[in-house]
Amino acid sequence: MLLLSGTGITLMEQENREAKKMEGYKMKRREKAAMLSIAACAMLVNAAPVMAESAEPLTIAVSMRSTTSEYHMQYVAGAELFAASLPEGTAEVQMLPCEGNDDKQINDINALIASKGDNMILFVDANNAPNITSIAEACEEAGVYWCAAWNAPEGILPTSYKYWVNFQSCDAVKQGYDIAVNLFESLPTPGEGKICVLEGMLANTANEDRMKGLNMALEEYPGIEVLDDQAGDWDTGKALNITENWLAKYGEDGIDGIWCACDDMAVGVVQALTAKNLNGKILSTGVDGTSAGIEMVENGELACTIANNGWLQAGYGCAYAYAAKTGVLDTETMDDLHRMFLTNGYLVSADTLADYKATFVDSQPEYDFTDLDYPIAGPMFEE
């Protein structure tokens, strides 16, 4: 388990502890920040001579699950944002979608390494955690600096490798908790009512963590009754069928809300509710911040969704790998916080919708990729 675990304590307590810890980190970080910022500012200055040595532009590879996922395509857009921050013509982005196939992910990365050598950096969202070991070994052998997000096997850490610069993840426990609290407070009687739970894929790390967050929220809200819990496998059609079945079982007045673990499934939930004119009356939730999810928040059909912010994850993932490649960062002297950290999602509800749209929908987000502290929301492990 790589993410913060809150089992046995309330999120409030956990947040207090984290706040104290963060204070400590901030003290350390303030000291290091100045040094890191100076070094990072030098990154872009250093970039031109480094690139000039190589005739070929640097390849910034993004290995992710699928081009069908709007969120995964945000990775590519984030990498492109970073590439655009470098001197023109010195870097190009190449995406490596594995379409859910572990072997394809590893083979594609190996093939690219064979073609580009160390004239590349890599951002990876591993299709499955065990892939990380093979990718780490391939990059270590070829001298390719890289970063990873979301999945890594337990006990396999960047600190054991020179070229694996860092590992980041969204706090999925917090996501599950936040959307649950938002839903509970949005019910006709805030904090009281009957809900159905639509999980994603069983035994999937993100799903399990979001469920932990939900359970933490349920402990804090004794007035919420869970009628049923089903797995929709992240699939829109399955979510639609399950919701139709719930409406048949509990009646149109028997459900107050539906806690749904992702936006793709929320589309199916809302379709089923719309067919019964219940959209907006029975609220649901989502995670991922897809355009459909944002639209449903805007229509008052979802209480909220959480944008994982793939732009930030991949953009800064690439920035770290690039900083290590250009000698601005030395992985052997980097502290644990910068090598393993959590990033913040963006909770989009009726209250925050306008801000979110202004930043992420109506325009591309803008990041200062020289400020390598910016994406860090907290440490991945409790000390």
Binding site: T68, S69, E70, E199, G237, K249, A292, E295
Partner: protein, 337 residues
């Protein structure tokens, strides 16, 4: 004299054996229907909300897409082949139709004309797939798998990662409206079933398909144009996949490649559970209708029963295995491919 007595005894035994065989076959052909009725009775008693008018419409709605898909595959399976192209092709059709009607991604707005257009595209792709199988002498299994992958790729390319949300009012009406209380999507499935029934039982094409599935060599010897018949089966399959792709987009209100996921194997399951032989020549569209409802009823009831998602798939698998064991003829003389 003794010889005559012996001959008549053998004749009687043979007649009795034939009678037994025919009774057994009659029972086996009724087995899927009996299984469906037994499941309905059991779930009506045990699952809250199962025996209700709301859930009846739910079942009709949820069976619509699997039924059309299964009807398309029935003719392929009846002639002893298999086709896996629906996953990619159905996803592609769903993605493209969403981009052709009023949607969130582009200004194209072909309205109802988009539907026949994408169905024709589906038929065209399926015809190509059929030609590769028939003229190229390639196994239908592999050809269709390749076609599925290609079409999945095109589907993703069509919307570049961000699925189009459908805004066309016609699609909204199709998703939510009903006629005589029966959802429109179910009417589409009913019409498809009637056409499939006529094709199988009232045309030469239906007889030829059964003959090919039973024994292709004999069918050829009696003058059936094997290649032309097979080609027509792929046209029918393309039509059904096209309809399924449109129905999928209507149901989820957006176009993405996921519309095609989980189409093929549940459809093959429906065909087989209904009693159609995977080796061809036995079964038909009525069996498929019953099979599609058996699979839909099981999926529906497991949610209504509140079966834990951790064991739901296992329970579903066990019930399907049980249904197949009871409804598909098996014995020592049967060849299991």
């Amino acid at each position: 004299m003794d010889k005559q007595v012996h001959t008549s005894r053998v004749g009687e035994e043979f007649a009795q054996e034939m009678k037994k065989q025919s009774q057994k076959e009659r029972f086996m052909s009724l087995a899927p229907l009996i299984i469906l009725l037994v499941l309905i009775v059991i779930f009506s008693v045990t699952a809250q909300g199962f025996f209700s008018i709301n859930n009846f419409y739910n079942l009709l709605n949820q069976a619509a897409i699997p039924l059309v898909m299964s009807l398309g595959l029935t003719f392929v399976i009846l002639m002893g082949s298999t086709d896996l192209s629906a996953e990619g092709l159905g996803g592609f059709i769903g993605s493209v139709v969403a981009l052709m009607v009023l949607n969130s991604k582009n200004d194209m707005n072909l309205g109802a004309f988009a539907i026949p257009l994408v169905v024709l595209i589906s038929i065209g792709v399926s015809m190509l797939s059929g030609l590769l199988h028939i003229k190229g002498k390639l196994p239908s299994f592999m050809v269709s798998y390749g076609v599925s992958s290609i079409m999945s790729g095109f589907a993703v390319l069509s919307y570049r990662g961000v699925p189009a949300r459908i805004r066309d009012p016609l699609f909204t009406v199709m998703a939510q409206g009903n006629f005589l209380g029966i959802p429109y999507l179910t009417w589409i499935a009913i019409v498809t079933f009637v056409i499939a029934y006529i094709l199988q039982n009232r045309t030469r094409f239906g007889s030829y398909v059964m003959a090919i599935g039973d024994n292709e060599a004999i069918a050829k010897n009696i003058g059936i144009n094997i290649e032309w018949t097979k080609f027509k089966v792929f046209v029918w399959l393309g039509l059904c996949i096209g309809i399924v792709g449109v129905m999928g987009a209507v149901r989820v209100g957006q176009g993405d490649v996921g519309i095609g996921s989980d189409l093929v194997f549940p459809a093959i399951t429906s065909v087989v559970v209904g009693g159609t032989s995977l080796s061809g020549g036995k079964g038909g569209v009525v069996h498929t209708l019953i099979g599609a409802f058996i699979v839909t009823v099981i999926n529906n009831a497991l949610v209504l029963l509140g079966v834990s998602p951790y064991i739901q798939q296992a329970v579903q698998g066990l019930i399907i295995l049980g249904a197949v064991a009871l409804s598909v003829p098996h014995g020592k003389n049967l060849i299991v491919k």
